[in-house]
């Protein structure tokens, strides 16, 4: 339960913070989430990763479908990812997930013991 809650909170706050703060501000909210919802380092990393992976992945997927893949197919050539929208969404989700995951991990190690 704690695991699921922390994923949802990570995603929720990870969405809210960048509305007002820089794009990477979710790293701070993730850190705070795992200070309060104490879990093992492994679980903290995973939950932190999944929270942002799902948030960014779903957000990008949603936008991409509404856009009929027009822009993602172009950007996936510039970056270069062989023009694949799916790969680009995956990369997007991974980048958000990784930063958030490590931030969660750092929070987990603040435990006293």
């Amino acid at each position: 339960m704690k695991f699921i809650t922390s994923i949802l909170l990570t995603a929720l706050l990870g969405y809210a913070a960048p509305l007002y703060l820089p794009w990477w501000s979710f790293a701070i909210t993730t850190f705070i989430v795992f200070i309060f919802l104490r879990q093992s380092p492994g679980k903290s990393f995973l939950a932190g990763f999944l929270g942002l992976f799902l948030l960014w992945g779903c957000n990008a997927l949603w936008i991409d479908i509404a856009n009929n893949h027009i822009l993602s197919q172009k950007v996936a050539v510039i970056l270069p990812l062989g023009g694949s929208s799916v790969l680009l969404i995956f990369l997007t989700a991974c980048i958000g997930g990784l930063i958030s995951g490590f931030s969660g991990l750092a929070a987990a190690y603040t435990r006293k013991k």
């Binding site: 957000n59 990008a60 856009n67 172009k74 510039i78």
Partner: protein
């Protein structure tokens, strides 16, 4: 707390953020800030517009003087209905910014020599600092400042430009960070505030594109290797197949100035010797920046009303140079193509008339040699005395590097464009000041605005007054029945040959003798032949008392006049066919010679196969034909065969002769043409040898194209529309398209009809148009390039020119914007 693992995880987190928040070097360029760029809430994903998006907005704005509404039709063309001119132009600025902010900003950076600020001093093999220095030394910025003074000294145009700038800045100041255009995110910079100067800089960029062409250094090199006879044959004045804009036989008033070359010019200026040593890359406008326009009077049309047509040929880019819109106030109601970056409808029509432009092609950019006293350049020799040089220091900011200060010496002639600090292409080691008409202040926006308001012929004449540069063939037609055409602009009065070469500058002997009086810029008004037309050919025949230096294409104009002369009962459909006509008039003249002189007995079976395709070709440059590919390669090959021996005399740049020069030469002299013999061989080559060997030499290219299935013209030509940053995936390349250089449908590789417009001036105006692009400048929008396919196929859209009451209730609108004064 576990210090070590905590620190490690924390450091990785921070390091990831830092690395993903900075541009990373890749080869000669940089990535965007990847974390930011990929962030779905901030980065490029926000530019991926929903395909079914509607544009509905409501604004209350302090700067507005009344209320206004904007309706977007099914092609996303905005129709602006405002209560006054200020608000209408404010909204034009707002809409240009909303749809094209990055493009208009970028173009103003390019014009002002500021690309290094965005791109760094070099990126992907392009030396941006060198390009910036070029525009600074040419005087683009000082010229724009002069024009700004001119624009702002006129209360009407000042208010007009101010309203536009306010509108752009209203958009920018309300722009959320996540919504800034895609290219800013890609290149990692931010929009800056718009100014009237930026609008004027854009106009100067058009002046450079249209009136910046010259080849004075190349020509000077040419006279050092060619004899007088050769020069006259390679670079003739006038063309045999010329059908000028103002019909031949028109009587001209004598020149207002003496047009005799200076005494001693034969030895000082028309001197065909002297050696010059190593070459360099060039920044030049495309010399075929041309266009077609024509208007037919009511007695040649089915409706009995005039029809006006225009298609400016320019470099084709995405986002497109043009933005289509309607602007309506109680005093004015205009529709047409506008320049993102400047107020007004530029090529279009209103309730009473229609107008358009083609380029005048006149040479208004010359060089004068400057003798500095010493390398400090503090003084230069003029009028038998040392004159003080003034200096203009222009600061070029460079991304990631210290500023570069360009110290430009200014002389009586203008800025010193080339000297040891910025060497010329011939590496003469000398200093040359550039004297260019666009360095002066001028107020083109005044003319565009006045045309939008014009109601009749007199208004058209009045609107053109005071227009200076770039010189244009301004065409006009109105519902009252008038048709008219005038080559309009401020043109220097030159003697024959003046400005073809670099000129001495130690006194005013070689200076322009003044300007051609406007009365000598002749208006072709309601001519008896029932039509007026221009296609960048010479405006007058060579009996015109002033020299018309420049390079002028001849064939489109010739063909248009032939068709228009024969046509009767003309309809809009006929005009669509004419504007997209692909008949190769050049080959109509050239093919008989080629076929007469080719030695068929010397051809192999394989070679005969290609010759047969050429013989059977219908002379249409259609995409599916193979003939145009053979034609183009054969003529290019023949030009090389005939001229390359003479041109090998110099390793420095020389102006390559025009296609028409060789054809006219062969039509006139055939077997005795001056350059037929290859002077590098001991044998004596004939026309038959040249034509046959030119044919054989192109066979490998044809075979290669054939084997790759690229022999048909539409594939061989490889037409495309390139993104301004030349990023292929943001461009539309390899379009299967017809037309070509000498055809009325002048679509070359990256250059062609940038806005096709046909207006029939019936009581309720019937207008049609299309441009190669789309209304949105956003590569993430379905409206980015949605006109391209129809444009390639030669189709047109009906242009909706309606009153607000009709527009408001039109089904299929893509949005409505309501603006109120706060």
């Amino acid at each position: 707390m576990k210090i070590l693992p905590f620190s490690l995880a924390a450091i990785i987190t921070v390091a990831l953020i830092m690395v993903l928040d900075m541009p990373l070097p890749v080869k000669d360029s940089h990535t965007p800030r990847l974390g930011y760029f990929l962030s779905p809430q901030k980065g490029f994903w926000q530019n991926a517009d929903p395909v079914d998006q509607e544009l509905n907005e409501t604004h209350a704005i302090k700067g507005l003087q009344g209320n206004a509404n904007v309706y977007f039709d099914d092609r996303m063309v905005p129709h602006v209905y405002a209560e006054n001119e200020h608000d209408a132009i404010f909204l034009q600025g707002y809409l240009h910014a909303k749809f094209r902010l990055w493009q208009m900003d970028f173009q103003s950076y390019a014009a002002g020599g500021r690309l290094s600020e965005i791109m760094g001093d070099s990126s992907n093999g392009t030396n941006f600092l060198k390009i910036d220095r070029f525009f600074r030394r040419l005087g683009m910025v000082s010229g724009a400042e002069n024009s700004l003074a001119s624009l702002e000294s006129n209360p009407e145009t000042k208010a007009y430009a101010d309203a536009y700038t306010e509108g752009v800045n209203y958009y920018i100041s309300n722009l959320k960070d996540k919504d800034i255009p895609f290219e800013y995110k890609l290149l990692n910079y931010k929009p800056e505030k718009w100014t009237n100067l930026k609008s004027v800089l854009f106009m100067k960029y058009m002046a450079f594109d249209l009136a910046g062409f010259e080849q004075d250094f190349e020509m000077t090199n040419a006279k050092s290797v060619f004899s007088k006879t050769e020069m006259a044959a390679l670079y003739p004045y006038g063309q045999d197949s010329l059908d000028p804009i103002i019909p031949k036989g028109t009587k001209f008033a004598p020149a207002a100035f003496s047009m005799k070359p200076p005494a001693g010019a034969d030895s000082v200026y028309f001197n065909y010797h002297s050696n010059l040593p190593q070459t360099d890359s060039l920044i030049k406008p495309d010399k075929s920046n041309g266009s077609n326009n024509w208007a037919v009077s009511g007695n040649k049309t089915k409706s009995g009303k005039p029809i006006l047509c225009n298609d400016p040929h320019l470099g084709l880019n995405l986002p497109s140079l043009w933005f289509e819109m309607q602007i309506s106030t109680p005093q004015m109601n205009a529709y047409g193509a506008s320049f993102p970056g400047a107020p007004s409808i530029v090529i279009g029509f209103n309730d009473s008339c229609a107008w358009g432009f083609t380029n005048a092609m006149r040479d208004v950019r010359d060089y004068f040699e400057i003798k500095f006293k010493d390398s400090s350049k503090q003084e230069y020799w003029y009028d038998s005395a040392w004159q003080k040089t003034t200096f203009r220091n222009e600061v070029i900011h460079i991304k990631g590097k210290p500023d570069h200060i360009e110290k430009i010496p200014e002389t009586i002639w203008g800025p010193v464009m080339y000297d040891q600090d910025y060497p010329d292409m011939l590496h003469t080691g000398k200093a040359y000041a550039c004297h260019w008409q666009a360095q002066d202040g001028s107020n083109e926006i005044k003319t565009f605005r006045a045309l939008d308001f014009s109601k009749n012929y007199d208004d058209y004449i009045e609107a053109m007054k005071g227009y200076e540069c770039p010189g244009q063939n301004m065409i006009f037609a109105c519902k009252r029945g008038d048709i008219a055409l005038k080559q309009n602009g401020k043109f220097p009065a030159k003697w024959r040959g003046q400005g073809d070469f670099l000129m001495p500058g130690e006194n005013d002997t070689y200076a322009w003798r003044g300007f051609i009086p406007d009365s000598a810029n002749i208006v072709d008004h309601n001519p008896s032949r029932g039509f007026v037309s221009s296609a960048n050919q010479l405006p007058y025949d060579t009996s015109y008392p002033y020299y018309l230096g420049g390079v002028y294409p001849v064939y489109r104009g010739y063909l248009i006049n032939r068709y228009l002369g024969r046509m009767q009962q003309i309809t809009v459909q006929d005009m669509e066919k004419l504007q997209t006509n692909n008949y190769n008039i050049f080959q109509e003249m050239a093919r008989p010679i080629l076929l007469k002189y080719i030695d068929q007995s010397a051809l192999s079976e394989k070679e005969m196969k290609y010759l047969d395709i050429y013989i059977q070709w219908n002379l249409q440059n259609d995409a599916i034909e193979k003939g145009p590919t053979i034609e183009k390669l054969w003529w290019d090959s023949l030009m090389t065969t005939v001229y390359s021996d003479e041109f090998s005399r110099s390793s420095l740049p020389l102006p390559w002769p025009e296609k028409s020069t060789l054809l006219d030469g062969l039509l006139k002299d055939s077997t005795h043409y001056l350059f037929l013999d290859n002077t590098l061989t001991s044998s004596q080559e004939t026309l038959q040898n040249d034509i046959t060997s030119a044919f054989k030499k192109m066979i490998p290219v044809l075979e290669k194209a054939d084997s790759e299935n690229n022999l048909v013209w539409g594939k061989f030509k490889k037409s495309g529309i390139r993104h301004l940053l030349r990023i292929p995936v943001l461009s539309r390349l390899d379009l299967f398209s017809s037309g070509g250089e000498t055809e009325i449908n002048a679509l070359k590789e990256f250059h062609g009809p940038s806005w096709r417009m046909i207006v029939e001036l019936t009581d309720s105006t019937q207008a049609y148009g299309i441009y190669p692009g789309g209304q949105s400048g956003n590569p993430g929008s379905p409206y980015y390039d949605n006109f391209v396919n129809n444009w390639v196929q030669g189709k047109y859209y009906p242009l909706l020119f309606m009153k607000e009451t009709a527009m408001k209730n039109r089904p299929g609108l893509k949005g409505t914007m309501i603006f109120k004064k706060a």
